[in-house]
């Protein structure tokens, strides 16, 4: 009984239960919502969000108000640059991937340096970086024509690759496995938890706190850049601020998955469930003919409700 009760309070279990519930609700509202084809499409969209949320998850785990509001900007910039570099040709894919990952890493690195060396609060630093990225997007789009996704990239995202699943889902599964191992079986992973749970004690135990935090922000930039490339493959061509929609959901997915905003505990498995959950929710809202502004309101409210349930630890530790 007690184990069952304990199980029921675990965020991952709650998220999985909600996924089933929402799928049933969607099926009831619109027959065919929970069909295999539809679920596969939802998973592809969830993978895009999930990859952004991977970086967000790492930054939040590292504590000290860690958050990356610039992920949406990096996603957009990456999608545009990838589109221009490949411009519909498979031959351009390697260069595009390399360039985007480097650019994502650069902006993540700048965030990390600002947060650690200049001691700018992550909220302010990454919000400022988002502003810079948005300005940069305007400049880039005016200077060069909008690009198109290479066919290889498009099929990676939407065509079955192995066991009926497209490449992007395998990529997401790989990210999940790598992060699970990183967090549980590497020194770096243990150091992330240590600085998130008690930064002072971590410093006294020889953890290179600043280096770890810089690495987390850099990884967040890289994950956002990868998601941007995949997003280009999903939509075929890049358009303005395509990544903007990822900022809030990436944070909600992390919190939904059981990583509190105060950091130091949680993991990526829950975040993956959180991403799926959010995408289903989004899809139901679309089915109900609720427009973008309505969806944003629902998401914002969701985050606030989540904070009410999961965010208590933060106030107690402050």
């Amino acid at each position: 009984m007690t184990t069952l009760a304990a199980l029921a309070t675990r965020p991952l279990v709650i998220a999985l239960a909600l996924i089933v519930l929402l799928l049933a609700l969607g099926q009831a509202l619109s027959p065919g919502f929970a069909s295999a084809q539809q679920i596969l499409r939802l998973l592809i969209v969830a993978a895009l969000l999930g990859i952004v949320a991977a970086g967000q998850n790492l930054v939040i785990l590292g504590g000290r108000e860690g958050i990356d509001l610039s992920v949406g900007g990096v996603v957009s910039l990456s999608a545009i640059i990838a589109g221009n570099l490949m411009n519909g040709a498979d031959a351009g894919i390697p260069l595009a991937v390399l360039a985007c990952v480097l650019i994502g890493a650069l902006f993540g690195l700048l965030n990390g340096l600002g947060v650690t060396l200049l001691r700018i609060p992550p909220l302010v630093m990454t919000l400022g970086m988002l502003g810079v990225l948005q300005g940069l997007l305007v400049v880039v789009r005016q200077g060069i024509p909008s690009g198109r996704a290479a066919p290889g990239l498009s099929s990676f995202v939407s065509q079955p690759f192995l066991l009926g699943l497209p490449g992007i889902l395998w990529l997401w599964i790989a990210v999940g496995i790598v992060l699970a191992l990183l967090l549980s079986r590497t020194v770096f992973g243990h150091r992330i938890y240590a600085i998130g749970a008690n930064e002072h004690a971590a410093t006294m135990a020889g953890v290179p706190v600043k280096a770890v935090r810089i690495a987390l922000f850099t990884l967040s930039g890289i994950f956002a850049a990868i998601a941007g490339i995949c997003l280009l493959g999903y939509s075929g061509s890049s358009f303005a601020n395509v990544g903007e929609q990822y900022m809030l959901p990436s944070i909600i997915a992390v919190v939904f998955g059981g990583t509190p905003l105060s950091g130091g505990k949680g993991g990526y498995t829950g975040t993956m469930a959180g991403a799926v959950l959010l995408v289903i929710l989004q899809s139901i809202l679309t089915t109900l003919n609720i427009d973008e502004s309505g969806r944003q309101m629902v998401f914002g409210a969701t985050l606030l409700v989540l904070m009410l349930f999961y965010g208590r630890g933060r106030a107690m530790r402050a």
């Binding site: 079986r185 020194v187 749970a197 006294m204 020889g206």
Partner: protein
């Protein structure tokens, strides 16, 4: 007639009895000195008067009228002004505002009367005219001031209250000679005005210079009150020590000392694990000592005389402003804890919640960070790590259900054992213990001291700072007594007595 009279004051915190039978009678026009060893209860007694601690029992009389001091505001209203040892200033506000903060002059009960505030502050600041130093003006913000100037603001704050009863808890610790002289001149004026003052200091020369009477507190009990001109330092310290000269069994735990260990001079230089010369930093200056392999070097003295800051500086957690630390011919810069750890220096803090425990994480992750750094590991394989950690936790008799359990599931003593054990997976050369037994149970303490004696016997060099004098006397081979951020005396061999420890703790430069 006593201006302020306390009797039968008792206060317990959980199982700890801070005050058992505290009594004090302060006359108007007197400077009444309060003396006692660490943990004797003198601070608690002051807090009772200041209203920040409510006693469990006892009576407080002001002008022979019983009063209940239920809070700091009540204390202020009763005419009690307090100088707080731990700085209580608003850093971003001006000197004038801080001075008047306890009782801001108001117009119509809402707005701060700027003119009255400036006038009152100017009057108080003028008292220290000429000794306050550069940049000390009414408009300067407190965070722009030096440590001694901040302490002056604290003093002025107490003075500006114009309270008939004043408490000064170590008011001179950061002041220079001229500032102390001026402060004492002011105190003599206040005496002439008939104020009653309670004075706590860790400097015997100050106590004899300014005090009229002294009350000695020991183990939460008032031993007695004497006129300072009718007694001497030796007698007072004898009262602080009491009949009980040594803790029972303290000597027994110490191994017989062989001839080669008889004194530091007899040791060969290669036995020196750490050579500290002229070390200066936050709150201490000119600290010089040699730490030998195989010895437990005690840091003693009253609380907060620089012992902890020296240890944190040696560990690279606080910046060093002067001096050298060497091992053999190698200078150790020790700028960060990482650097210190790589040089084989370990540091255990008594504040485990802040400095030690990684909350919410498994016991294993709390044991391994030092091992990761010293072995330059990338991968964390639980089975391998558990095997290595097992010996370290066993050495301390740590009781726990499994390595995967969160450290929060352990008792305080066992949590501290885990924090200590993290240093034992790879043996350090130097172990710095900064009041390591604070808040842990007696059994855990016994386990810890048994372990450090074994470690010392195996050749580790250990520095032990303890706020419990019995722990120092029972475990340290040598004791360096700190006072005012300097080492005042070294107690070795038969000199390690409670009497000598207290005497040195109050000794002046």
């Amino acid at each position: 007639m006593a201006k302020l009279k306390l009797s039968g004051i008792s206060k317990t915190y959980g199982a700890t009895v801070a005050l058992h039978d505290g009594a004090l009678a302060v006359d108007a026009g007197d400077v009444h000195v309060l003396m006692g060893a660490n943990g004797s209860g003198k601070s608690t007694l002051c807090k009772v008067i200041a209203g920040s601690v409510r006693p469990d029992a006892g009576a407080v009389l002001i002008d022979d009228t019983p009063v209940t001091i239920s809070g700091p505001r009540v204390a202020r209203a009763l005419g009690i002004g307090v100088f707080y040892q731990e700085l209580s200033l608003a850093a971003r506000r001006t000197v004038a505002e801080n001075i008047c903060l306890p009782d801001l002059p108001m117009t119509a009960g809402v707005l701060v009367d700027r003119k009255a505030l400036a006038a009152r502050a100017a009057r108080t600041i003028a008292l220290f005219d000429g000794v306050a130093g550069d940049g000390f003006t009414a408009d300067a913000t407190v965070d722009s001031l030096r440590a001694d100037q901040r302490q002056l603001v604290e003093i002025m704050k107490a003075l500006a209250s114009e309270a008939p009863i004043l408490i000064f808890d170590e008011p001179t610790s950061a002041l220079d000679r001229a500032q102390v002289e001026r402060f004492f001149a002011i105190i003599r004026d206040l005496k002439a005005q008939g104020r009653a003052m309670i004075f706590i200091s860790h400097r015997m020369d100050e106590i004899t210079a300014i005090g009229d009477r002294v009350t000695v507190i020991r183990d939460g009990r008032t031993v007695g009150t004497w006129r300072l001109d009718e007694t001497d330092t030796a007698t007072i310290i004898a009262h602080m020590v009491g009949e009980r000269s040594e803790p029972p069994g303290a000597r027994a735990s110490r191994p017989p000392q062989d001839e080669t260990m008889s004194g530091p001079e007899a040791r060969a230089p290669r036995d020196i694990a750490l050579s500290v010369r002229g070390l200066g930093g936050s709150g201490f200056t000119d600290v010089t000592f040699d730490l030998h392999r195989g010895e437990i070097l005690g840091f003693g003295g009253l609380h907060g005389q620089g012992q902890s800051a020296v240890l944190r500086t040696l560990f690279g957690a606080l910046p060093r402003s002067a001096g050298d630390v060497t091992r053999g011919d190698t200078a150790l810069p020790l700028r960060t804890p990482r650097e210190a750890i790589r040089r084989g220096i370990a540091y255990v803090s008594g504040d485990r919640r802040r400095d030690g425990v990684i909350q919410g994480r498994p016991i294993l992750e709390n044991l391994t960070p030092i091992h990761y750094l010293r072995q330059r590991l990338m991968l964390a394989r639980p089975s391998v790590l558990q095997q290595k950690a097992q010996a370290a936790v066993d050495a301390l008799n740590t009781k726990f259900a499994g390595f995967a359990h969160a450290i929060d599931s352990l008792s305080g003593g066992n949590q501290q054992k885990v924090v200590i054990a993290r240093w034992l997976m790879d043996r350090p050369d130097v172990l710095l213990l900064d009041d390591p037994t604070k808040g842990i149970d007696l059994a855990a303490k016994a386990d810890l001291f048994a372990l450090i004696r074994t470690l010392a016997r195996d050749g580790m060099a250990i520095v032990l700072y303890s706020s419990e004098d019995a722990e120092l006397l029972g475990n340290a081979d040598r004791i360096l007594v700190f006072n005012g951020g300097r080492i005042r005396r070294e107690l070795a061999g038969a000199d390690r007595t409670r009497y000598n420890l207290y005497h040195a703790a109050y000794e002046a430069a």
